[in-house]
Amino acid sequence: MSVRAEMVALFLAVGVGTYLMRAVPLWMARRSLTRHGGQPRRPDSPQGQGEEALWALRLVTPAVIAALLVASVLPERGAPGAWAHLAASVAALVPAAWVQARWGNLGLTVLTGVVLYGLAAWAA
């Protein structure tokens, strides 16, 4: 049951950063609502413009997740069976994405991808 100090530091850095990303906007929004008597803000108010800037931050998420997806699927260059791995990955990802679009269930999508990848890799 070993725990390395550098891992704890990494987890704390990401954990605290993630917590602040959840807590600070929530706290600010609640404070703003309290000041305005619980009424929603006008879209052209400074806060509304701030929300637009926050929206722009959403563009980071698909870029990073798409890059992670590509990096996790691309094989090690020159490794034996690299193209079979890539073909099995694509064969599993397409139905998994369909399952997610159809049912929107994270666990079911992961399960679909894992099972189909296992079957495709076994058949290859």
Binding site: L59, A63, R77, A101
Partner: protein, 247 residues
Amino acid sequence: MARGSFAAGVRAAAPIAAGYLPAAVAFGVAARQTGLSAAEAVLMSVIVYAGASQFALTGMIGAGLPGPAAALAGLAINVRHLLYGPALAPVMPPMGGGGLALSAFGLTDEVFAVASALLPGRPASRYWLLGLEAAAYGAWVGGTWLGAAGGGALAARFPAAAAAMSFALPALFAALLTPLLAGNGGSGRRREAAALRASAAAGAAVAVVSWLGGWQRWGVLAAGLAGPLVGWAWWRRPDGGGSGGRP
């Protein structure tokens, strides 16, 4: 009243827990396969509690990415969480600073989705939200422990299953990416979806170029910078009408 509200929140978390458990077990197995101990895998779930960045962190730890770069990439994935608090605040029940601080910790993608859908129709009670979050958190941490503690034995006994489980990471990323790319609603929504798709396409392209160039370690960070720029440019292009209307 408090106990009843808390229990109702726990019951409302059942679909979240059903989704979290297999994903968390897969995370526990993947974490062990990348060299983390069972305690480290569970500790990551306890402290970070953000599925996508946890999977990404294990991948980057396995690839030997330096700690600060891994932390930055892990945080970049969670940037979307900035949006959840302001969106949920108007429908949240009254609570003090302590309750607010506690409820912020559990504000994951799925908790946000369920809370924002169910809170408007409920009598105001902070205990319902805390019950929802506690059950989701328990499922995630418990599932991680199951995968990390039992995953090694399963991998030794069923190597084919272990190889298949290694695909949980790409499958999770596909699951997270799919709804981001789905466009619906009016023209503003279509433009937003197009910008998100442009950002994702740019991120994927950067990852491929990094792979071709042999700089895989830096591909995710580069994608996190280049993708939003392309998405923003797409949203602001004149024929997209990006200067008008709420995104």
